[in-house]
Symmetry: C2
């Protein structure tokens, strides 16, 4: 156990080492970096974090992070509001938005079903999705979750919940990544990409 020369330093290292993926050595490196900054810069850092936590809200429609009641995506009338992409968290929204290929709206679950982490369906934003479906507001739900056991479980759970309603439930196309060599693709991905092959014209349309 390292003894720090002052509790001030130790407390700061403790705070940083609570962040995901940060050990005590990296935390100390960050704290020493901050000590080299001006007090104004460090104050701005601290205040930005406090302001963020205080002012951030979640969109009432899609549960995405927002600073308004309805986020800018849900408020956009040019988007297709009957096409809903179901994602785990905001990082997936950012990634899909970044492709500029999607013109529907999102539904952020806030996690995936994972009994190991104590994450059950009731802790996720699934109920509000089912209500939307019930009200006839959804034409197609695209399940854009990770292809892990947890992701697949979550997709299956939501699929069963949405089954009573006249909704198309789809998943992302899985296949060999664009620009990747065939020989380096794993066999499951390659197998799926042969089964789910697409007409050549689909590629031309892009």
């Amino acid at each position: 156990m390292i003894t720090y020369p002052t509790p001030l330093l130790e407390e700061a290292v403790n705070e940083f080492s609570r962040l995901p993926g940060i050990g005590r050595k990296s935390a100390l490196r960050m704290v020493l970096h901050l000590l080299k900054q001006t007090p104004e810069e460090v104050n701005r850092f601290g205040e930005t974090l406090m302001k963020l936590r205080k002012n951030i809200t979640y969109c009432k429609e899609c549960h995405n992070i927002s600073d308004k009641e309805i986020c800018s995506i849900c408020a956009d009338t040019r988007r297709d509001h009957e096409l809903v992409c179901v994602v785990e968290d905001i990082r997936d929204v950012l990634a899909i938005e970044n492709t500029s290929q999607y013109k529907g709206i999102y539904h952020v679950l806030g996690g995936i079903i994972s009994p190991m982490d104590g994450m059950g369906p009731s802790q996720l934003n699934i109920e509000s999705l089912v209500i939307k479906a019930e009200e006839g507001k959804i034409r197609e739900a695209i399940m854009a979750l990770s292809t892990t056991m947890e992701g697949d479980t979550t997709v299956f759970y939501i699929y069963k919940k949405l089954k009573p309603f006249p909704i198309t439930v789809s998943t992302l196309a899985r296949g060999v990544a664009v620009g990747n060599d065939l020989e380096y693709a794993d066999e499951i991905t390659l197998g799926r990409s042969i089964v789910n092959r697409v007409p050549y014209e689909n590629n031309l349309a892009r």
Copy 2:
């Protein structure tokens, strides 16, 4: 370029990604982690950082980080004040203190000579070390710097500055690490450890 749903989020990601070794993806992960904490926890984080930067000072004697004028190591009268270990920064002090093998005091340079990074001798705490030597306060100076080109340059510079005074300048023993196989040691380390071999009794004394 990713467009964030709110500037609050973007500012927080910007702040985190200024930290050493943190890219924008890791920064976003940290920010999302903080959003899951209570506002009180995030406030504590922010305030700890501001308090740290505001209240931290450097020891007048050894330039180590401290919250008092004289740090607890320099204030400790049981330590040998004529034995001075010269290190780059506080991380080295923590590492050496952690061994419980050293009973002298430290002198923190605050960096090493590195023309590439614009770090010259005048920006380091070398002058105060020379003054201490001049005043006859040092019996032995242990150079505990990295064995890089910058480290070796710094050691040589300080060595020349201390030469006029009756001081023993020593360096850390270099050799095969305890518990390491000989065959995996690099040849320079192995060579040095043969040249600087020690009497077997030295090991027994530990």
